[in-house]
């Protein structure tokens, strides 16, 4: 039956730009062969079905493609196929000077561009041995990173609700995220790709009145989080839908080197901001929320969501302290004129981005162009867990599991 469907004429353009008509049912044959091969490789009988999930699927949060082996409605195996957004950031970085890579890091995790900037810049500063920065720069960096963490988590929890079938919270989360983006636009001139944090400083000083507006936003935002919780977090249907699926034990999470809310959702109290404090995070008081298993086993999809909600509150705490303490000063004085680390030096620096640890391994060759920039992406590592946490569950829960890991394909594919 399917053969007939695929037996249509196919047209395509060859390398010379000529139109070629393909009369053979090769596509159908290829498809069936591929299915058979995939099922045999996985050791499944012909009863299993292989379906292709993505890359153009709204709930894959981008262009992730999953090859799912199903037995009825149960997931037997998930094989992610990456690379649809691959642009080889690392090769780009080998051709441009250190400071010009910062706009490229924006495009890694485009929902948390400030954190990406910060991670890269801190790695370069470690390479340069540039530790003494003006106080104001440090405070501005922390404020930007935490604001962006809130914006990114709002996106994550909003789309997670959307995956579970709740549309309204998504719009509410976007409304508040928009206000943060407005603050950033005022600060850096751009809404998403900021290029704001530079090596040794920041691109612009805070505009007059920015701190007051930021405080105003926090006052507005905290009650909104309560409303959001009423709307989604405490909703019984949502809890039942998410609290018993995607269970990730702590040892598996560590073995897979999961980081960020995925690791903390499994009950591991690990946050680089507290355990290996960088920048000035050691000056602030905040908690590390971990998954508590309130409504089900620890490490479920709900726990990862809950950690994000709690992290937003902690970020607000940090922001209040930072906005109160921010000193006056010159933000440009420490920007180096030339960035030329000694040849053969290498540094690995990891920092806590909203989705986990973002690590940059940089080797220098003595010139102003790096020899190698490796980005250890948190989403890339976390999404490798998808097979582990979705096996044996319903295909409808697969969507929620992807949402609970919260990937950004710009960072996965780099």
């Amino acid at each position: 039956m399917f053969n007939n469907i695929f037996k249509k004429q196919r047209y395509y353009f060859d390398s010379e730009g000529l139109l070629v008509v393909d009369m053979s049912p090769s596509s159908a044959v290829h498809y069936q062969e591929a299915v058979q091969a995939a099922t045999q490789d996985a050791g499944f009988s012909g009863e299993d079905m292989v379906i292709n999930f993505g890359p153009q699927h709204p709930s894959t949060h981008g262009v992730l493609r999953l090859e799912v082996v199903l037995e009825g409605e149960l997931v037997k195996k998930v094989t992610p196929h990456l690379g649809y957004l691959h642009r080889n950031f690392e090769k780009h970085a080998e051709y441009i000077p250190y400071n010009e890579i910062v706009p490229y890091t924006d495009r890694l995790d485009y929902l948390a561009a400030m954190n990406m900037n910060l991670g890269y810049v801190l790695a370069v500063e470690k390479l340069l041995g540039l530790t003494e920065l003006p106080e104001r720069v440090e405070y501005i960096r922390v404020i930007c990173a935490e604001f962006n963490r809130i914006a990114s988590h709002l996106m994550a929890i909003g789309t997670f609700g959307l995956d579970a079938g709740a549309i309204t919270p998504f719009l509410w989360a976007f409304r508040d995220r928009e206000k943060i983006l407005d603050l950033f636009e005022w600060l850096s001139g751009a809404r998403m790709l900021y290029n704001y944090i530079w090596v040794g400083g920041v691109a612009r000083d805070l505009p007059d009145g920015w701190v007051e507006k930021a405080k105003e936003f926090l006052d507005y935002f905290e009650p909104m989080m309560v409303e959001f919780n009423n709307l989604l977090t405490h909703n019984h249907i949502f809890i039942e839908r998410t609290a018993h699926i995607g269970i990730l034990p702590a040892d598996v999470a560590i073995n897979y080197a999961a980081t960020g809310p995925v690791l903390r959702g499994s009950g591991v109290k690990w946050d680089l901001r507290r355990d290996q404090p960088y920048s000035i995070y050691d000056r602030f008081e905040f908690d590390i929320p971990v998954g508590e298993g309130m409504y089900g086993p620890v490490g479920s999809a709900f726990d990862r969501y809950w950690v994000r909600i709690r992290e937003i509150e902690e970020s607000v705490k940090i922001l209040r302290q930072a906005l109160d303490q921010i000193p006056e000063g010159d933000v440009f004085e420490a920007i180096p004129r030339k960035i030329r680390p000694p040849a053969g030096k290498e540094a690995y620096f990891r920092s806590e981005a909203p989705r986990g640890e973002i690590g940059f391994y940089i080797r220098s060759n003595g010139s102003d162009i790096p020899d190698r920039v490796k980005c250890r992406s948190s989403c890339f590592v976390n999404i490798s867990l998808i097979d582990e946490i979705s096996r044996g569950q319903l295909v409808a829960d697969l969507v929620i599991n992807i949402g609970s890991i919260d990937i950004v394909l710009g960072e996965v594919d780099r």
């Binding site: 060859d14 690379g83 690392e90 090769k91 355990d275 004129r337 030096k345």
Partner: protein, 200 residues
């Protein structure tokens, strides 16, 4: 444990397999013989004093065209709270090393990435396919002597500026049109940007 202690311990266990230890580096790194790569990693993971249960990052690198390739892992221990880096140099022709996927599951995709971009073959890896590039891509993009293929399935790969189009456009008498149209929509005060201007 300090990095020096860790290196001493590994040195004591493996002797000659440890080629050098750089304690002055920003991340202290042990350079090891690729033959003993897996054994040293296994020791680092299972030894009661070391317990490196977290593979933070695995990256490949290239010393330059005609030179060797390298591979480096950054390890961290949650129970003991110490870290170390281990690296090994591999020959450029037919680089092979034993996979550490069975020790840390996270090495699975990292190794696939290094295989994809550097062509390092990991023996014992269960599923060594390309991960970021398409399966039938030619060459290993992150090698310093990589040259991009001209066509991929009939699609031109290298980006080329279409200078002919540019020049014909330059000669077009109507080309000023865009500039003028744009100028008219400018704000009256023109330059609208903050005064502070550092050089990046």
């Amino acid at each position: 444990m300090t990095p020096q202690d860790i290196a001493d311990k590994v040195q004591k266990q493996f002797g000659d397999a440890v080629l050098e230890f750089d304690a002055e580096a920003l991340d202290p790194v042990i350079k090891v013989n690729p033959e003993a790569w897996f054994d040293i990693c296994e020791f680092l993971k299972t030894d009661a004093d070391l317990e490196f249960d977290n593979l933070v990052c695995l990256s490949g690198f290239d010393y330059g065209a005609g030179k060797e390739l390298g591979i480096i892992i950054h390890l961290y221990s949650f129970p003991k709270r110490h870290s170390i880096a281990v690296k090994a140099d591999l020959p450029r022709e037919n680089p092979r090393i034993r996979s550490i996927e069975s020790l840390w599951r996270t090495a699975d995709w990292h190794e696939r990435e290094v295989f994809d971009l550097y062509g390092v073959v990991f023996d014992g890896h269960p599923d060594l396919r390309r991960i970021l590039c398409p399966d039938d891509w030619e060459g290993y993009p992150l090698r310093k002597d990589y040259e991009v293929q001209e066509f991929y399935h009939g699609i031109r790969v290298p980006y080329k500026e279409d200078w002919e189009e540019f020049d014909t456009f330059l000669k077009n008498p109507r080309r000023g049109h865009f500039v003028f149209q744009f100028e008219r929509t400018l704000p009256a005060n023109g330059n609208a940007k903050p005064k502070e201007k550092p050089s990046p």
